[in-house]
């Protein structure tokens, strides 16, 4: 009969006899487990960031720019004709069956003033459905309406950063601010979104009705045109269909023949983000795999020490066999020894991994996330390593002939 508890005791004692050797062997596993945990934390941090960005721009998102996308990518700069209009946006919303919402955008930067405070921020003129497109909610007050757009009302919604800088703790709703000297009534405050993928503050913004922006703030030589149109497809699966419907519709509206270059470009933002997410997943996997190699090396270290130990203790094995130890008593003893080494290494490695992740996040200013899953994974993996690399030495020990083992010098 196999007595696991006593076997554990025997194993732990054997390890204590060679403290230095055990410690060095454990070190291999510590480094391996620590590296795996740190690397997964770095990868998870990157993925989390991208996920946040995806949810902050909104889901199932397409963006339409003026200008063509040739083989060299999107070309729209100062020279590009602004070809998109509010009417285009309305047409897309009405006629493309896969589109849920289409919202035109005009944007610019402006100085704003409230009593003796002033602040320079980004002004976005748009339609109320923008907040549906971007899954963005109002934490205070309300969104402007389509009537506000129709009659170019001078109302605005503030982003959280603007509120913090101009009003501090004051409730801004109902107050009047001046944008480029034009007075606007504040009717709501937007929920905080944090940084965008490009790293700019999405809350440093003021939203106003698009017609107000055209008429009162950013009147251009191309009246009625907009900078971009943001489109939300009905579902993730509808994204591709929505893209082709928009292409077809705008071609028709802009009278572009089959041979001609488009004067607009449709970009699938969600797809771009998801590609980035996949890339981070692959990066995480690679980092983890590289770190696992060091864990594997640690495992080989365990096997090495266990083989030495079996040889050194041949006589002991002979004695144990002579007084009744069976095959699995001997095997279990050495397997448990290897497992003890690897699991102690695993536990300390977890501590080192967590510390490593903290250090990386401080030194590299990189968000790291230690998931419970990665801890379980690394610890479990170190256990498997112990079992795997402990088995052969244990197997070898158990096959010794008792008489030969007893005679071993």
């Amino acid at each position: 009969m196999i007595n696991v508890f006593s076997t554990v005791k025997i194993s732990v004692r054997a390890l204590r006899v060679n403290k230095m050797r055990s410690a060095l062997t454990i070190l291999g596993i510590i480094i391996g487990v620590g590296a795996v945990i740190t690397m997964l934390a770095v990868g998870n941090g990157a993925r989390k960031k991208i996920e946040e960005q995806i949810s902050s721009i909104g889901s199932n998102l397409l963006i339409i720019f003026p200008g063509s996308s040739g083989s060299g990518g999107v070309r729209f700069g100062s020279g590009t004709q602004p070809t998109l209009t509010i009417k285009d946006a309305e047409a897309i919303q009405k006629e493309c069956s896969s589109v849920q919402e289409a919202s035109p955008v005009i944007n610019g930067t402006a100085q704003i003033v409230y009593s003796n405070q002033n602040w320079s921020t980004s002004i976005i003129g748009t339609t109320p459905n923008m907040f549906i497109v971007r899954d963005w909610s109002i934490i205070n007050g309300k969104v402007f309406t389509n009537d506000d757009v129709k009659s170019s009302t001078k109302v605005c919604l503030l982003g959280q950063t603007v509120v913090d800088n101009i009003f501090g703790n004051l409730d801004p709703v109902g107050h009047i601010i001046r944008i480029k000297k034009v007075p606007f009534k504040i009717i709501g405050v937007l929920e905080s979104k944090g940084q965008s993928a490009q790293g700019h503050d999405q809350d440093d913004v003021i939203y106003i009705p698009i017609t107000t922006a055209q008429k009162k703030l950013f009147g251009t030589q191309f009246p009625g045109t907009v900078r971009t149109i943001m489109v939300k497809a009905k579902t993730f699966e509808d994204l591709a269909k929505a893209e082709s419907q928009i292409n077809e519709l705008l071609k028709q509206r802009h009278r572009i023949g089959n041979k001609q270059e488009n004067d607009f470009t449709v970009r699938n933002l969600t797809q771009i983000m998801q590609t980035a997410e996949q890339a981070t997943n692959i990066m995480t996997l690679l980092l983890g795999a590289v770190a696992s190699v060091s864990l594997l090396v640690g495992g080989i270290g365990i096997m090495n020490i266990m083989l030495v130990s079996v040889t050194e203790r041949t006589r002991e094995i002979g004695i144990r066999m002579a007084i009744g130890a069976k095959t699995w008593d001997i095997r279990l003893q050495f397997i448990i020894e290897a497992l003890t080494l690897s699991l102690i290494g695993g536990l300390i490695g977890i501590a080192f991994g967590i510390a490593g992740a903290k250090i990386v996040s401080i030194l590299a200013e990189w968000n790291t996330i230690i998931s419970n899953m990665s801890l379980v994974l690394a610890f479990g993996f170190s256990g498997i390593i112990g079992l795997f690399f402990g088995f052969y030495p244990a197997y070898k020990a158990s096959l010794l002939n008792p008489i030969d083992a007893l005679r071993f010098e």
């Binding site: 009969m1 007595n3 002979g318 002579a322 007084i323 130890a325 069976k326 008792p402 007893l406």
Partner: protein
């Protein structure tokens, strides 16, 4: 029914092309409660014989029965089990586990038998006091004299109530006085617990304790007689 019955056992060692016939058609019976000595010159096959009786080694051919039970066909683990419960082995070099206290050494056969920790401890202390070493139970082998180590080994051989004790030159590393103490201990165990004892020795002083003396030469039994003095 004899406790140990050996029928035409041969043991041949092969060293390359050379064959060493260490045991040659040995047949022998040992009854319960016997105290037998095996004598003979060095290399005559005494240890080989004892190892086969002790199920540490297998004969090349022949039959071996313990309590009428044929052990020739048993596998490794079954042999381990026989060694565990039927046989107590005493070696010339004591063969205690190093860095392991006396009591833990004594507990070991019970560990492999599956005796509970509490029971193990109780029986181990009993066995240690039977060999007069109760107060040394926490000493390590390197803190004990040769005679004391051999007593611990004897205590270890007793704990599973094995009916057979096999001792291969148990006093070979001990001085005369300690040797006779160990032999007295064997005598006492034989007399009081009716344990069968087989001792390999080449010393006439030691053989004098035995009730039966079997002499080996070149792998053959050349004589097997009662010791008139006992």
């Amino acid at each position: 029914m004899p406790l140990i019955e050996i029928k035409e056992v041969n043991k041949i060692y092969k060293l390359g092309d050379i064959e060493v016939n260490a045991l040659h058609n040995i047949s022998l019976s040992i009854e319960k409660g016997e105290f037998a000595g095996i004598m003979g010159p060095s290399g005559s096959g005494k240890s080989t014989f004892l190892n086969i009786i002790g199920c540490l080694d297998r004969p090349t051919s022949g039959q071996y029965l313990i309590d009428g039970f044929n052990v020739s066909q048993l596998n490794r683990d079954q042999l381990s089990n026989i060694r565990n419960i039927k046989i107590g082995f005493i070696f010339q070099g004591f063969n205690l586990l190093p860095r392991t206290s006396a009591i833990e050494n004594v507990e070991l056969p019970m560990l492999y038998k599956g005796v509970s920790a509490k029971e193990r401890k109780k029986i181990a202390i009993e066995a240690l006091s039977a060999v007069g070493l109760e107060e040394r139970k926490n000493h390590y082998p390197n803190q004990l004299s040769g005679g004391q180590q051999q007593r611990v080994a004897i205590a270890r051989a007793l704990v599973n109530k094995a009916p057979i004790i096999l001792a291969d030159e148990p006093t070979g590393n001990l001085d005369t006085k300690t040797s006779s103490e160990i032999m007295e201990l064997f005598l006492k165990l034989n007399r009081e617990s009716n344990i069968s004892i087989i001792i390999v020795t080449h010393e006439p002083d030691i053989a004098a304790y035995c009730k039966r003396i079997i002499r080996f030469k070149d792998g053959n039994i050349i004589s097997d007689e009662r010791n008139e003095q006992n």
